[in-house]
C-alpha cells in the first residue's frame, strides 16, 4: 500500500491504495471524482485524460503512485462555480457532444491543445491533436468547431485584457 497525496483542482487530497492502482481508479474511487471516465484497456480512447503538472495525460496508464506529489486537474476543476470554462461553454454552444461519454477527455485534451498553441490553431492541427481521443457519436465535426471557437474566445479575451 502507498499513501498518495495529490493537489487535485487546487485542493490537497490523500488516500491509501495498492501500488498497482491506476490514477484513473484513484481519482474515481478514492477521491469520488467520477467526471474522469474509463473507456478502454489499451490507452487509446482518451476519455480518462486529466492534466498532471499542467500537461494532458492518460490517467488510465499512470499509477497513482507515479503521480504522487503532483498537481492534477480534472474536468471538475475547470469551471468557476456555475460559470463554465470557455471550452465547456463552446462544447455546449456548438453541440460538441451527444452521449457525453468522451466529453471530459475531449475537454481536457482541448484545453491542453489551446494552451500549447497559444491561440495559433487551425482545423488541421486540432484534428491531428485529437488523435488520442475517440468519440463514437459526433463524427468529430462539432468537437473541432467547439475547440476552434473556444480558442478564438480565449485568445480574443486574452488580447482584450492586455
Amino acid at each position: 500500500m502507498t499513501k498518495v497525496t495529490l493537489t487535485v483542482n487546487g485542493r490537497k487530497m490523500s488516500g491509501e491504495c495498492a501500488d498497482r492502482t491506476l490514477l484513473s481508479t484513484f481519482i474515481r474511487e478514492n477521491l469520488g471524482l467520477t467526471g474522469t471516465h474509463v473507456g478502454c484497456d489499451t490507452t487509446q480512447c482518451g476519455v480518462c485524460v486529466v492534466h498532471m503538472d499542467g500537461k494532458s495525460v492518460k490517467s488510465c496508464t499512470i499509477l497513482a503512485a507515479q503521480a504522487n506529489g503532483s498537481e492534477i486537474t480534472t474536468i471538475e476543476g475547470l469551471s468557476k462555480g456555475d460559470e463554465l470554462h470557455p471550452v465547456q461553454a463552446a462544447f455546449k454552444e456548438h453541440h460538441g457532444l451527444q452521449c457525453g461519454f468522451c466529453t471530459p477527455g475531449m475537454v481536457m485534451a482541448a484545453t491542453d491543445i489551446i494552451r500549447r498553441h497559444g491561440g495559433n490553431l487551425d482545423e488541421k492541427t486540432v484534428r491531428a491533436e485529437l488523435e488520442g481521443n475517440l468519440c463514437r457519436c459526433t463524427g468529430y465535426h462539432n468537437i473541432v468547431k467547439a475547440v476552434l471557437a473556444a480558442n478564438a474566445e480565449m485568445y480574443g479575451a486574452k488580447q482584450a485584457a492586455e
Binding site: V49, G132, N133
Partner: protein, 265 residues
C-alpha cells in the same frame, strides 16, 4: 494488473541499487509501453523502479552540431525543442508523430529505444543518425545496440542515460502509420553527411529495425529519390501480419525512402 511494488529513484545509482534488491524488477520511465503491457497482464514485474524523477536523465543540449538528449526526455520535449530543430528537424518531426499528445507527454526516448518494438519510430533515428547509446556502464554504438525484435544489447540492470550524435547535413523521416495505432507500418529515416549515407528502416523488417545497404550505396553515389526507386527491397525480410503482407511492406519501404529523401532535400 498483477500486484507490484513501486519505488521512486532520485538518481541513476539509486535506481540500480533498488533494482538489485528486487526479485524480478523493471525500470519504469513514461510507462506508455510498460504500464499498458502490465494492464494486459503480459508483464508482471515484482517491482517497478521509476526513473521519471531523475533530473540528470532529462533535457537536450546542442553544442555546434553535437547533440545530447537525456534518455528521460519525453517525446513532446524532443518535438518542441527549438535548439534541436535548428540542427536536426527530422528528429523533432519524428517525435511529433509518435502516438498522440498525451502519450508524448509521458513516453520517453530512452523507454522507446530500450523497448525496441519493431514498429517503434525512434530506433530508426538511433541507427540512421549513428547515435551513441550512453548507459550507466558504457557507451554502445548504434550498430551494436539492436538485436532483433524487442531485444537490445542492454543488460538487466543497465540504464540508458543519454544519446549523443553529430547532426548530419541532411536528414528526414517518413512513416506510413498504421491507421489505428499510429505505430509505423514502414518508417524510413535517411541521413547524409558528405559521402556518408545511412538509411534505417523500422516497422517493416521481420527482425526489427535494420539498415538497407543497397539504398545507402545508391544514395551515396546519387542523392535523389530516383536513386532509390530502382533498388530491390526483399519481401522475404519483411514482417507479414493482419495489417499488411510482406510484399506490401517491401513496397512501402521503397515509397517511404523516396519520400524521406525528397523531404530531406
Amino acid at each position: 494488473m498483477y500486484e507490484t511494488t513501486y519505488h521512486r529513484a532520485s538518481s541513476v545509482d539509486e535506481a540500480v541499487s533498488l533494482l538489485g534488491k528486487a526479485e524480478d524488477g523493471k525500470f519504469l520511465a513514461g510507462g506508455m509501453t510498460l504500464i499498458a503491457t502490465m494492464k494486459q497482464r503480459l508483464a508482471a514485474p515484482s517491482d517497478l523502479v521509476d526513473l521519471r524523477h531523475i533530473d540528470a536523465m532529462k533535457g537536450i543540449s546542442v553544442n555546434g552540431r553535437s547533440v545530447r538528449i537525456g534518455a528521460g526526455t519525453c517525446h513532446y520535449d524532443v518535438a518542441s525543442s527549438a535548439e534541436l530543430r535548428a540542427v536536426c528537424p527530422a528528429l523533432c518531426d519524428l517525435a511529433s508523430h509518435i502516438g498522440d499528445p498525451h502519450v508524448r507527454h509521458m513516453g520517453t526516448i530512452g523507454g522507446s529505444v530500450a523497448n525496441n518494438d519493431p514498429a517503434a519510430d525512434y530506433p530508426s533515428a538511433v541507427l540512421a543518425l549513428n547515435m551513441t547509446v550512453i548507459t550507466n556502464k558504457r557507451e554502445i554504438a548504434a550498430d551494436d545496440f539492436f538485436k532483433g525484435l524487442f531485444e537490445t544489447a542492454l543488460e538487466e540492470d543497465e540504464i540508458i542515460t543519454a544519446f549523443s550524435f553529430e547532426a548530419p547535413e541532411k536528414a528526414a523521416y517518413a512513416k506510413f502509420a498504421n491507421p489505428a495505432s499510429r505505430y509505423a507500418m514502414a518508417g524510413v529515416f535517411v541521413a547524409k553527411n558528405g559521402g556518408d549515407v545511412r538509411v534505417a528502416v523500422t516497422g517493416a523488417g521481420s527482425d526489427g529495425v535494420f539498415r538497407h545497404a543497397g539504398m545507402e550505396q545508391a544514395l551515396a553515389s546519387h542523392w535523389s529519390a530516383d536513386a532509390v526507386a530502382g533498388i530491390h527491397v526483399d519481401a522475404e525480410d519483411m514482417l507479414s501480419d493482419l495489417h499488411g503482407t510482406s510484399e506490401y511492406r517491401a513496397h512501402l519501404v521503397k515509397v517511404m525512402a523516396k519520400r524521406a529523401v525528397a523531404a530531406a532535400g
